[in-house]
């Protein structure tokens, strides 16, 4: 396997006597969208600041493309594009001039490339306007534009969906997946929108109080065929439970008009057929898929900030 584009080794950050990031170790391969999940104040932004060299490390090492971010900064950062917290731009310049500004800092970015990126983030109509007239979502799009301008191999986005409308989120999600799968770059996203992460990421790291507590792979759609908790709304609750018992299945009453039962895909069809055969009206069948959100709250214990 190719060596990871980013290696975080025992990264630690202390400010004063507080340990904000504690012994974080993480590898990111190319071609993957990697989610970074954690409650407010858990240290996501701090980690990102260290990854792009805005903050020093108290201990540990961060390697990007094999170069140390502290010792060989200019080489390490060359292939990184990033948004750190809100993408603040020069408000008195137009969106286009902002991009020109960043383009000048890296050799080889043509005007054609700038326009291409503008089109990609859907800002063609307003790019010549001053940034101070932009909405939050438009600034976020401009932020994405400056991050991908130089075709980085690693894209680091701190809460990129913040302020985007549903269409914008969807476009970003599709675009990030495209970048990682077709152009093979690594994408590192932090977000509060847990359900978003589920749709966007291949793997998710969960961080709490500066400690990495879990890294898990997000499974694709096929796993939905796994056994899950089904909630079935019927006209006669007791009748339904009895009918299923006769078929050898254990269902439980749920509320006044529903029953709950564990079943996989085929099982659900069988249950439905059984109920219909027993002349019970089935109004709805819903799978209670355990979302990342549930998993997240489970691992972090739904804990309060601080």
């Amino acid at each position: 396997m190719e060596q990871p584009i980013v290696k975080l080794q025992n990264v630690t950050k202390k400010i004063g006597s507080r340990t904000i990031i504690d012994q974080l170790t993480l590898d990111l391969p190319l071609g993957e969208v990697f989610g970074f999940l954690g409650p407010n104040g858990s240290g996501k932004t701090t980690t990102i600041r260290m990854m792009v060299g805005l903050m020093s490390l108290t201990a540990g090492e961060i390697l990007i493309g094999g170069y140390s971010i502290t010792k060989e900064y200019e080489k390490a950062i060359r292939h990184v594009g990033a948004i750190v917290e809100n993408p603040e731009m020069y408000k008195y310049l137009s969106g286009y001039d902002n991009l020109v500004h960043y383009a000048r800092m890296i050799p080889g970015i043509t005007e054609h490339r700038i326009l291409e990126v503008v089109k990609l983030v859907g800002l063609e109509g307003r790019i010549r306007d001053k940034v101070k007239t932009y909405s939050l979502g438009m600034r976020q799009r401009l932020g994405v534009a400056q991050a991908i301008l130089h075709k980085p191999r690693l894209l680091i986005l701190d809460e990129p969906t913040n302020g985007l409308d549903p269409a914008g989120i969807r476009e970003l999600r599709d675009y990030l997946r495209l970048l990682s799968k077709e152009e093979g770059l690594a994408v590192f996203v932090s977000s509060h929108l847990l359900s978003e992460m589920e749709l966007m990421c291949d793997r998710v790291a969960i961080i709490q109080n500066g400690k990495l507590i879990d890294v898990r792979t997000i499974k694709g759609d096929e796993t939905r065929a796994d056994i899950s908790h089904m909630l079935i709304e019927v006209d006669r609750q007791q009748g339904a439970i009895e009918a299923l018992l006769a078929a050898g299945l254990n269902a439980a009453a749920e509320g006044n008009h529903s029953i709950s039962i564990e079943a996989n895909r085929e099982g659900t069809a069988f249950i439905n057929a059984t109920l219909v055969a027993a002349a019970i009206k089935v109004y709805s069948i819903r799978a209670q898929v355990k979302s990342l959100e549930d998993q997240f709250l489970e691992v972090t214990g739904g804990e309060r900030i601080g």
Binding site: G53, V80, V84, E85
Partner: protein, 267 residues
């Protein structure tokens, strides 16, 4: 090298695309115009153009200093207050080079203002007073040191003033980098330079050795035009003043770069 010039271009863009830069420049040129026209009206053209130019240069250089301090104090601090510093620094350029590009663009702005003041007062007063002077106005009435030609004197005056301006600008730049607040940097540097400098004559009377090593005692270099050693008994000379200024300059630059390189960016 060419790549580095692009950074300076960026910083220039950030200075000149702001209306405030042009407003300040315009204020200065308008004042030159205003003073000259008023003078012309009230003196009925009986004054030498060199007198008007010297006076205007002397008064309005203060404005050049203030405007330079405003721009220079803003250049680092405003990147912090607006949060743009984050996106600026995550490029393949060391912090030192980014800072240098800012410093250069500020120095260029200071030079531009100085040249505009010099050129506009020269041109305007030549038009108003110098084209067909009356006999009384042919000679400058202000005695110039060492029987110097007026133009030669002016060049020296601007040269000396520009050296001081660079130190002032560097001080504002340093305060801006340390405090990350342009208001504080502007206030503090103007207070130090204009406020404290007005106590210079008072301080000079005190009989302490260390007073000779204060920056403020040496910022007025124009007194050395004509004679590089003062005859007022203080014994200070141009070379001594320049060495003191140079020492402070190096200190300011070192401190600015050190702080900027070390700092965690959490704006």
């Amino acid at each position: 090298m060419v790549d580095f010039l692009q950074l300076v271009r960026n910083e220039n863009m950030k200075i000149y695309r702001r209306p405030r830069t042009w407003v300040m420049t315009l204020i200065m040129v308008t004042l030159v115009l205003f003073i000259s026209i008023m003078w012309r009206i009230f003196s009925k053209g009986e004054t030498s153009m060199w007198d008007v130019i010297s006076m205007e240069s002397f008064v309005l250089f203060l404005l050049v200093t203030i405007f330079t301090v405003v721009v220079s104090a803003g250049s680092v601090a405003e990147e912090f207050t607006s949060g743009t510093i984050k996106l600026l620094l995550i490029r393949p350029w060391s912090r030192s080079k980014v800072l240098l590009s800012k410093y250069i663009s500020n120095a260029l702005y200071a030079a531009l203002l100085t040249i505009i003041l010099f050129a506009s007062s020269l041109l305007l007063n030549w038009l108003l007073f110098g084209l067909n002077p009356s006999d009384a106005a042919k000679q400058s009435t202000v005695p110039l040191p060492g029987e110097m030609a007026p133009f030669a004197y002016l060049l020296r005056f601007y040269g000396m003033k520009f050296i001081t301006l660079m130190v002032t600008m560097t001080l504002a730049f340093m305060l801006s980098t340390i405090f990350r607040s342009s208001g504080l940097a502007i206030g503090l540097s103007l207070f130090l330079l204009l406020g404290v400098s007005s106590f210079v004559p008072l301080l000079a009377m005190l009989d302490y050795e260390w007073i000779n090593y204060l920056l403020f005692m040496h910022l007025d270099l124009t007194k050395y035009i004509g004679s590089t050693v003062l005859e007022d008994g203080s014994g200070s000379s141009l070379s001594f003043s320049l060495s003191i200024i140079g020492a402070y300059y190096v200190l300011f630059i070192a401190l600015t770069w050190y702080v900027f390189n070390k700092r965690d960016i959490s704006a």
